[in-house]
Amino acid sequence: MSAGEEKTARGETRSMWLLSSPALIILIFAAAGPLLIMLVYSFLAPGKYGNVVWEFSTDAWVSTVLTRDIFDGTLSLADAHLKIFWRSVKLSLITTFFTFLVGFPTAWFIATRQERSRAALLFLITIPFWTNLLIRTFAINQIIRTEGMLNTFLLWLGVIDEPLILLYTDFAVFIGMTYVYLPLMVLPLFAAIDRFDMRLIEAAYDLYASRWQVLRKVILPIVKPGIIAGSILVFIPSLGAYVTPRILGGGRNMMIGNFIEMQFGPGRNWPLGAALSVLLLVIVAAALIVYTRAATKEGPHG
């Protein structure tokens, strides 16, 4: 590298940091930095009326999964907490799987249309993704509530004699999350299928591959990065969902997000809330690492 080149390189680096610094300062102040403070708070003791007392304690971390008996102080598994974790993971996995199940044919359908209608269909998928999540969840709430449209319609048809209790169940949360996160599955799947050369399928058929073989040996390997991306994009927000379980699950069918919020309200246990948040962040980070590994490992031919 000549002296001149080295000078421009140094100048480039300096201007890069200089120009980025306002954005970085805001992000460190109001997004990334507070995460570290939250980690510190997870090792403190809860204050009597919320907030914390500045003394070191691992109680919050212990109580994420264990509970101490108030009489003899023995530790046992905290069933209530584990139940909420399990519900969150279970609902997120089911949601991810179901969005894939209906999202794959949808993405395939869009990718195999003519150029013009393809753009229009993609736009139709994108619009709900950008519209207010609260409103979309609220729309589902109105339809499935006891005195809502679905029940009114079914009663009118005479299919049922009494309204179905759908709202404030795990099923409602599943329906709601599938509804709001579906675009996040369809878009990356579409991107992957769109790159796929459809002539490969014809070639496989010409070589006497069965339908199943074509799916397994030709389509899946090439579409795999899209499947992974879509699954991660649906799984992560599902696991941290707050609005959907609050509006459709009610007070009893909490997910981790709602349980965390509770610690800052009536629960009055900020350290536990902080510890649970750190835990959620670790799970999400692990999922992202799995994703980047899988994404970088996949070459154009699997």
């Binding site: 390189a9 954005a23 109001a30 044919p105 949808t106 609220f138 729309a139 707050y242 962040l281």
Partner: protein, 267 residues
């Protein structure tokens, strides 16, 4: 014969599922919009067409107050985040890859990766101690938080635009003895404008829609439209909320259409 007829576009059942998905995606929203025009109070029984819920919403002082607050925060946060994101995009594109650049990308995209509830908790904790220390309770916290999570939404379209831009025009300007500021002002910035506009739209929509972070950061009496609606939905449901939702949806769709027009590739 069946083999010959095979077409990738016609896998059995795929079209049916896809069409069902499109219907299912829009039906609930359209129902919600339809019932904002219901003459009755019910959100299930149709009692005839009426526009009465719109004036009801408009005459509700609380609705006006929270809407104004939402728009103030969204406008401020989108202008701020777009400004700093434009600078960051200029600083990080069209140059050699370095380690520092990866770090900057990571930090800028961080709000997209961390679950909202986690950021919300972290901000609650951090801002609570600042509130105690300074006594300041104003909108500044909400604006700071919104600006931060809007940065990636503003940054990504601007960066995409910059990367697709033709460098030769700027080199030509330099050859014609334009100073680097003149080149930026009269060549780079006009070319970049659609990207900046698109980034600002996304930032605005993102800020306007936020529920979780706002809920945790806001001080008493600082409800925004979404947090107000969340509280309303919990209490009782009347078609008034449908009317507010419809207006908010309309605004979002208008902004998104502007975004797509700005980013559309020209042939």
């Amino acid at each position: 014969m069946a083999r010959r007829d095979f077409s990738a576009a016609r896998l059995p059942g795929f079209a049916t599922i896809a069409i069902t998905v499109f219907v299912a995606l829009y039906a609930p929203i359209l129902m919600l919009v339809a019932y904002s025009f219901n003459a009755g109070d019910s959100i299930a029984i149709w009692e005839g067409f009426s526009l009465k819920w719109y004036p009801v919403a408009w005459n509700n002082a609380e609705v006006r107050e929270v809407t104004l607050r939402s728009l103030t925060i969204a406008a401020t946060a989108s202008v701020l985040s777009t400004t700093v994101a434009t600078m960051a995009a200029l600083g990080t594109t069209r140059r050699r890859q370095t380690r520092g650049q990866t770090f900057i990308y990571l930090l800028i995209n961080q709000p997209l990766m961390v679950p909202e509830i986690v950021t919300a908790v972290a901000l609650l904790i951090f801002f609570a101690s600042i509130k105690v220390a300074t006594g300041y309770q104003g909108l500044g916290y909400l604006i700071a938080a919104h600006t931060a999570f809007c940065i990636p939404f503003a940054y990504l379209p601007i960066r995409a635009r910059l990367e697709g831009m033709d460098l030769t025009l700027e080199i030509a300007a330099g050859d014609l003895y334009a100073s680097s500021w003149q080149t930026f002002r009269h060549v780079t910035l006009p070319l970049l404008a659609p990207g900046i506009g698109a980034g600002m739209m996304l930032a605005f929509v993102t800020s306007l829609d936020d529920v979780v972070i706002t809920l945790f950061v806001k001080s008493a009496g600082q409800d925004t439209l979404p947090t107000y609606m969340l509280a309303q939905i919990r209490r009782s449901v009347s078609a008034e909320v449908n009317a507010i939702s419809t207006l908010l949806l309309l605004l979002t769709v208008l902004l998104l259409t502007a975004f797509f027009l700005l980013t559309r590739k020209r042939d």
